[in-house]
Every structure is written in C-alpha cells, then in structure tokens.
C-alpha cells in the first residue's frame, strides 16, 4: 500500500518537499504509526432531576499523530545528518505534514512543535528507531476548493437570480469548516455589509424577503406606482403619509412566510429598505414588539435594522417527540409600525429582508470592509480576520476592517446559501447594483479524504 508521509511547505496540490519520511534513509513502521481522530471534548451538565445530561457545548481537541520511524543510513554521520533534518522539521512552531495511504488524494495536518518520545540505536549508530508524538490541529485539510467562483450577487431581492444570495453546493469534508469570502475593493471599500449563511434543510425555502406592497396596508399607507429605484414590478412600494403621526400600524401580514415549512424555522435579523421624503424630520419604525428604531436623517434610500424575528416563536419542540422528524414551523405575524415625531415627511417602504441568525447552525455577521484601494478584501473564517491584499502582489496591506458577529462556516454534504447585502446603515444599494463574490475553503477531515471529497 503506497504511503505518502512528508513535511511540505504548504497545503497545495503541488507543495514543495521539505522532508520525505518514506524514502531513504527513512522508513515508516506501520505497527507504531497511527493517526487517530481528534477527541471530541464536551461540557456535560447533569443532575439527578432528569435522566441523561445536557451538552451545552462541544469542540474537537488537538489530534495526536504517532509516528514510528526507522532511520537506516550508510554511516553514523549520515544518520546524524538525517536526524538533524528531522529535528529541524519537528521543532518548527508550525509545520505541514502531508499524508496519503493508498487514496487518490492527500490530506494535510497542521502540526505543532514536537520532539521524539524515544530514540534507540540498534547497531553502530547508522540504524535507529524513533517514536514521535506530534500534536496537530484537530482536522486534516484538503487542498483549497472554490465553492463560489466570482459569482454575482444582485442587491435586488426581486432579481431573476441570486437576489441577495449565492447558492453553495458540493461542500466536501467530514466536519463543518470555515470559509473565506473574497470581494474587490472597487465594490466594497468602506461599506458595512450583512454576511449570513443558512446551512440546514433546504436553504432555498428560507423566507428571505417580504415586499411592502404585498402586505396589508395600514394607517395612512398605500401602495404606489412603479418606481425604478424600488424593487419589484407594478406598484412596487408603499408610502405612509403620517396623517396620523403617532405610532400606528402601517403595514402588516398575519403570517410570514405564508407556507408552513421546517425551513421557515429560525431566528432572523430583519432589515428594512426605506426612503424618507426629507432629511430633517424624526421618524421611528418598529417591528412587532421590538424596540423602535430611528431612521437615519437622509432622503436617500436607507437600510434600517428592525431587530429580530423568531419563527415559529414560543416553546418550539423542533421534532415530533424523540422521533427526530422535524416539525413544520408556522410563520410569524408581521406588524410594521411607524411614527413621525416632527415635520411633514412621508416614509416609503420597499421591502423587508430576513437574514438567518439562529444559534443552531446559522452564521451571521456585519462586516466593515477596509478602505484600501486596488485590493482584494477577505473575510477569512479560518484566520478569523478581515483584511486586504494587493491585487497585483498579493501582499497583505495595513487595513482597518472588522467583523461583528460570527465568521462564516459551511457543513459538508449540506447545501447552503450565503446571503449578502452590501450596504446597511444610512446607505442602501441601488436595485441594479451587484457584487461579485468568491467563496473558498479547505475541506476538513477526521481521517483521510474519500474520492468524492
């Protein structure tokens, strides 16, 4: 059985060799070599008040690689030289160990510094055996894969395709893995964006957008003729004139989404696309019983976060008893209230967006992009950083991006959707705007990589 075991310079399809452990003078003793999966560490909370226990949290611990090596060289001096090369690789703070045992694809372990547990001379010094335990990151990595290659995300939710999202399919690996999202400085510089991932069930069924004109029009609120700056066709937005200026229900719907579905279940962060008629009056908006939110003092179209919405809400059993069959969730009622504290402005509602943010598997973040030019921007879930690199040289630049929330992750063998809204806050994208994004990742494995990834 062909074995590949060597230190290399990087996780790559063609990495540069640093030290090969299966070619002379090195051999691997398979009886003393093992790559057990990493331990799964769990917090367990239990009392005698109920059977079983709670597992409030879990995470994989470091993996221990055990190498049994045989050094068989021509002379003691040659063997000493070979040992020196090995010790130098072992003592590196971080190293990359490529491993393949008869499979089509290698995996790579990111190792920590180590030293031999045992070192025995068997003859005159030219034949030695070693046992080495190397601590490594929990997972073995596959080479980088591209999930989304420069795909266009339309900022218009009513677009024919990819309205506020890109689909993610074919995720490889054994366990969930961070992803790296890349975009260009020319379209992202200085903005704050929503970046969210739904990675359970059928993400396409996630209730993403509710158009205002499709809701029940409330006090002083009516649908308006088509405006090209608003999303949708026909009468494509609603206007509130505030004849009654106090906090009143301006838009409502009895149940959102209209269709019961397990995929409707979740907690969502709700954003509204609005437009005021002036930049001076004080206008507040409120979703259901959330705290009211002040709109920005601008007459430009703006995005306002209205808080969270839970579907189905209340005590949710999730499944049909212990059967594991997930129950459908019924949508929640939406009540949009607004008040005008001063002035005479009107308020236009375009649509409401629901980005997944529950604690079970969703990932949500507000990303503040850097402002450097001629750069690629990255949200890197692996290094947990937001940074910029020069588009020509690839050098990391001094940049001031940051992220509020959780870095994006995907789950293998589970379709996902990455939701993206480029501008939030007192800004908003035009309905015709689009952003090209790339999503990359390194699959993670507990053991070796299967042919299908």
């Amino acid at each position: 059985m062909a074995l590949t075991l060597r230190f290399v310079d990087a996780i790559s399809a063609s990495p540069t060799l640093r030290l090969d452990l299966v070619s002379a003078p090195w051999r691997v003793d398979s009886t003393r070599t093992s790559f057990p999966p990493p331990p799964l560490e769990r917090a367990i909370a239990s009392t005698l008040l109920t059977d079983g226990a709670q597992i409030p949290g879990k995470a994989f611990g470091l993996r221990t690689l055990r190498l049994g090596l045989i050094l068989d060289d021509d002379s003691p001096d040659d063997a000493a030289e070979a040992l020196r090369l090995l010790f130098r690789e072992l003592s590196r703070e971080r190293n990359t160990l490529e491993y393949k045992v008869g499979t089509a694809n290698s995996v790579f372990f990111r190792t920590h510094a180590a030293a031999p547990e045992t070192l025995e001379d068997l003859t005159d010094g030219s034949l030695k055996t070693l046992n080495i335990e190397i601590l490594a990151e929990p997972f073995a990595y596959g080479t980088m894969e591209t999930l989304v290659a420069s795909q266009t995300v339309n900022m218009n939710p009513a677009a024919g395709s990819n309205g506020l999202f890109v689909p993610i399919t074919g995720v490889k690996g054994d366990v969930e893995t961070p992803v790296r999202v890349k975009g260009a400085s020319t379209v992202l510089s200085g903005f704050q964006s929503v970046l969210a991932i739904r990675r359970r069930g059928t993400p396409a069924n996630l209730p993403l957008v509710q158009q205002a004109e499709a809701m029940t029009q409330g006090t002083n609120t009516t649908t308006q003729p088509n405006d090209a700056t608003m999303s949708g066709s026909g009468n494509n937005y609603s206007r509130c004139t505030f004849t009654t200026a106090t906090m009143q229900t301006r838009l409502s719907t009895t149940v959102y989404p209209a269709t019961d579905s397990p995929d409707a279940r979740g907690v969502y962060r709700v954003f509204a696309r609005l437009r005021r008629s002036n930049a001076t009056d004080v206008i507040n908006v409120q979703l259901n019983s959330n705290a009211k939110v002040a709109t920005a003092l601008t007459a430009n179209i703006q995005i306002v976060e209205l808080g969270e919405l839970a579907i189905p809400g209340g005590m949710d059993p999730l499944t049909d008893g212990p059967s594991g069959a997930e129950l459908s969730a019924r949508g929640a009622g939406l009540t949009i209230k607004a008040e005008r504290i001063s002035g005479t402005a009107t308020l236009d509602f375009d649509h409401f967006m629901f980005f997944p943010a529950d604690n079970s598997s969703d990932r949500f973040a507000l990303v503040q992009w850097p402002t450097t030019t001629s750069a690629n921007y990255y949200v890197d879930g692996y290094t947990q950083s937001v940074y910029a690199t020069d588009t020509t040289t690839g050098a990391v630049e001094n940049s001031a991006g940051f992220l509020i929330g959780n870095f994006p992750m995907v789950t293998p063998n589970q379709d996902a959707r990455l939701y993206f809204l480029r501008k939030v806050g007192s800004l908003a994208d035009a309905v015709g705007d689009a952003v090209s994004l790339t999503v990359e990742y390194w699959p993670r494995y507990l053991a070796v990589r299967a042919p299908g990834g």
Binding site: A43, L49, T50, G57, A59, F364, Q384
Partner: protein, 545 residues
C-alpha cells in the same frame, strides 16, 4: 462549538481572538450596572506589550444576534508557568463610566446652616443672624434681627442679608428658590426680599418680595416661571430692608425676619446636555429628573437621546453633594428612594455611546425555567427586620436619627425585635428622606428573601423575544419563573404554594467553558465574595462644607 466570538480592538490593532483563547470567556452582567465584566486568558509573550492587549482596549463578545458583552480591558495580569506565557484579561463593562465622572452636584438644598447661608456682605454691621430651629415645624430657620436701639437705614438699603453661593461654587445655576417668612410685627415700611445675581459680585435682581407681616407668608422665584430668575444667576440673597425713606432707630426687638422652609434647586439639563429653562414649579426633584440631568451633564458616554428613563413618583426633598460625588453614587442614592428601579449600561450604539436605561423592575415574567440544571436557595431569617434606625444629618447640620417599624409576623410572634441600621451619610438629609429610605429598606426585609442561584445549561423560553434563548442571552433585570421550588411568600409570590416561584434576576454569570449560566436571584447569594464586596461599597461619610 458555542457560536460566540471574542474581539479586541486597541488603538493599534483590531482582531478576533476566539481561536487563541487559553480559557473561555466568563461574562458577568448585573443590575444595577449592566455589563459588568469579562475574563479570559491568552498566550502572548511577556517580554513586550502586545499591540492588542492594552489597557482600555475594547472587548466584545458576539453571537449571531449581536453583542453579548462589551467593555474595556482594565486588568492585564501576566503569568509564566506550566501554561507558558499567559495574559489574564479582565474587561470591565460600561457601568464603570458612572464611577469615573465626578462633580459637585446640588439638586435640592434645604440646608440652612451658617456655612450654607453666611452673612451677606451688604448687611449692616449691627444686624444679627441667628441659625436655629423653627419652633413650629422643627426645621431650620434663619433669623435676621435688629436689636433695640440700632439704626436701620431707609430707602431700601439692605439691613440684614444672608447669601447662598453653593450653586456658584459648584458651577451650577439656580432653578428655583423659596422660603417661608414671618416677621415680628406687620409694618408696611419694611419688606422681605429674595435677590439673585450672577456670581457673588454681580448685579442683583429682586425676584420675590413679601411685605412685613406677623401673619407670615412665603417668597419664591423660579427660572422661566412666575417671579422669574434671570438666566445664569447662581447666587441668592435673603434679606429684609426698610423700604420707607429715612433712617429709623429700632424701638424694640420686634425688627425681625424669620426665614424657614428654605429650598434651593439647581437648573437641570436634559438628556442632550441642554439647559432646561422652565418647569421649576416644585420644591422637590424626581429621580427621573436627576437621571436625565446626569445623562446630559456627566454621563456623556451613555446615549441620553435613546436612553430609557422611566418616570418615578417620589419627591426628593434634599439631594446635595457640594463636596463632589460620582454619578454612580448618585444613582445608588436614587435607588434608595426608588428601590423598585435599577440602572444599567449596555452595548454601544452607532454613535459609540452606550445604551442606558433607568427603569422599574418589570412586573411581567420574562423567562421560564426549572431547576433541572441546578439550584441553590438558602433562606435565612437573618434577613428579617421589623425596625430600622436611620441616621442622617439634618438641614441644620446636626446628626439625627429616626426610627421606623413594620409588622413582621415571624418576629412579632416570637417576641423578637431586630433592627437594621441605615446610615445616610450627609448628602440626602431630611426627615422625610430618611423615613422613606427606612420604610423601603424594611419592606425589602419583611420576609425571608427568595434568594439563591439557578444554573441554566439549556435553552429556556424568553417571553419578551417569544423564543427559546441560549444561556448566554439571559439578562438580569427581569423576572424568571422557576418550576420545582416551593416559594417563600414575598411580593412576587404573594399566595402561591404550587411549586412555582418567581424571582428577580439580579446577576448572570455565563461561562463559555461549561456552556452554562449561573443566575443570582432576588438578592445576591450569601457568599464571602458578596459580603466583602458589600463592605467595600459601604457609604463613605461625606464631609460637609
């Protein structure tokens, strides 16, 4: 993995450190206060100062749904041991800002001692000022008198005058001033006056007058109201004058003005820091007004414009800190008057100011839980009192005490009297104030507290959010209904004996290492750490001017 992330931002570096933590963050939130602390440890070399681990670097703990903690690094502990080079980080929440800012504050001042109302420079040398008790009301009064045989100048020349400059010394303005006045005789040739001015040497404006009458009367003036005080005036005089022309020699000892019931209020600020120029109709101040003034005047790191400051009802008669006070102490004193309220500072908003609330404890239950993950609830009669002895300093500067009592059946039936001693220091001195505080304290100790500690290691129902929430999302300052406990009867559990208890959550400690939250219920649990903390926070006696 627990879906939380940790971010540190210093002046030199902004990074997420979740993957680098040596110990999981422990987050604490309390009321009053809000976000209190977050501790964790990181590996960094000890040989130099890391760019991210700097004092006052900002720390956030995020979930998908937003900020779960925000604060600034206060303590950087360094150790070298079997875990290598380790930095122990403690970040303190925005509540510390209330202790950072200090200033002299005088909201309502009823003191009438000589050091507060000294002799005015315009007084005739023969005028005598006496500081004594009002025999009718047991309150302080100032007597200004001319003895028999003394010459009293006429034509409106000041004879006897006392001056109040505490507002000026504190950098404040006068919003209202009043007093009762009674003279020995009725005489139209003489008049009582209140005069205000800007600075001790400024030109005076007579803002209120009262003719000499043995039947008594009162004088008052307020900013933007009847008898308007000119804007910016910060010094006041109370005096009497001979309005009639020509000098006069006092024929008896009846040339006296007695001034009692003196109250001076400062001009307040609104939550945006703007001066409030009218509305000073009362001689008292509400806790609500004080909180809004603090937000506009001192607590500039809290967002006054969006602050939730709920209305209070109790009229505070005296609240003065001429020696200076931290805003946190003022808030603590306000809660003594309004124990059903708390204050808290939370995450920062888009304008970098922190969300702030001063609100009543809600009356509706927010969380539903049970004792499955653990509960500890000592219930001690040591917290029962049926008598309170309140020490305070009155308006004349004397140490006074007042006693309050309440019926507590457990003690009364046993024939026991237990007294709690309350020391109000010098700042909130008045009989009414002292009685109020005493009554409130006794009410809290009428029954054994439903105190204790509840562990939550699984999602529980949040009625406000109408969904299940994770342990790290639970907030103090709300009510929780816990199944499986026989309650002690108290205001939250008046009659029930059905195995369900309602508690206040006063603190939440979440440990990301165990994934569980520990809730401190009603009053803080009895622990050595808690008692030590209480001793450290004991009121420092303020020195009066």
């Amino acid at each position: 993995m627990i879906p939380l992330s940790v971010r540190i931002k210093s002046t030199r570096l902004d990074r997420h450190v979740t993957a680098e933590l040596l110990s999981a963050p422990k987050v604490r939130a309390v009321v009053p206060g809000g976000f209190a602390s977050c501790t964790f440890s990181l590996h960094r070399p000890l040989g130099f100062d890391p760019d991210d681990l700097r004092h006052f670097a900002q720390v956030w703990v995020y979930s998908n749904l937003g900020v779960q903690f925000e604060g600034r690094i206060e303590d950087l502990g360094r150790t070298a041991g079997d875990q290598g080079e380790v930095w122990e980080i403690t970040a303190i929440g925005p509540s510390v800002h209330a202790s950072d800012v200090m200033a002299p504050l005088i909201y309502v001042d009823r003191e009438a001692a000589e050091d507060r109302w000294p002799r005015g420079r315009l007084s005739a040398s023969s005028a005598e000022m006496q500081y004594q008790d009002d025999s009718a009301n047991d309150g302080p009064e100032i007597r200004i008198l001319a003895h028999e045989g003394e010459t009293i100048s006429g034509g409106g020349v000041v004879y006897g005058d006392v001056q109040y400059r505490a507002m000026y010394d504190a950098g404040l303005k006068i919003g209202r001033i009043r007093c009762d006045v009674i003279n020995a005789v009725t005489n139209a040739d003489y008049g009582n006056r209140i005069v205000t001015r800007q600075g001790p040497g400024g030109a005076g404006t007579t803002v209120s007058t009262q003719a000499w009458t043995s039947g008594g009367g009162s004088m008052f003036a307020s900013l933007g109201g009847a008898n308007p005080i000119p804007a910016g005036d910060d010094v006041a005089n109370i005096r009497w004058v001979r309005a009639a022309a020509g000098a006069f020699t006092a024929q008896s000892n009846n040339y006296v003005g007695e001034y009692s019931g003196i109250a001076v209020r400062c001009q307040l600020k609104d939550v945006n820091g703007n001066d409030i120029t009218s509305g000073y109709d009362l001689n008292t101040v509400l806790a609500t007004e004080v909180v809004k003034d603090l937000l506009g005047r001192l607590l500039t790191m809290y967002d006054g414009a969006t602050a939730n400051v709920e209305a209070t009802l109790y009229n505070i008669e005296h609240l003065a800190y001429p020696d200076g006070v931290a805003a946190a102490q003022v808030l603590e004193d306000l809660i003594e008057f309004e124990p059903g309220f708390y204050w808290a500072a939370w995450e920062s908003l888009a304008n970098s100011k922190h969300r702030f609330e001063f609100r009543a404890w809600p009356s509706s239950i927010r969380y539903e839980a049970d004792v499955t993950d653990g509960y500890s609830g000592p219930s001690s009669a040591a917290e029962l009192y049926n008598k309170a002895l309140v020490r305070y300093r009155d308006w004349a500067g004397r140490i006074r005490t007042t006693t309050r009592t309440q019926a507590v059946s457990a003690l009364d039936d046993a024939g026991l009297t237990r007294t709690v001693i309350i020391d109000l220091g010098d700042e909130i001195s008045s009989l009414a104030n002292a009685q109020r505080v005493g009554d409130q304290k006794l009410a809290e100790h009428a029954t054994p507290p439903n105190a204790g500690s509840l562990t939550i290691a699984r999602p529980i129902l949040d009625r406000d959010k109408n969904r299940m929430v994770m342990p790290w999302e639970i907030r103090p300052g709300h009510l929780i209904r816990v199944r499986g406990i026989k309650p002690s009867v108290d205001s939250l559990n008046a009659t029930t004996r059905n195995g369900v208890s309602v508690f206040k959550i006063v603190a939440v400690d979440y440990d990301a290492g165990t994934g569980a939250a520990s809730l401190e219920l009603d009053s803080h649990p009895r622990s050595v750490a808690r008692y030590l903390s209480a001793l450290a926070k004991q009121r420092q006696k303020k020195r009066r001017r």
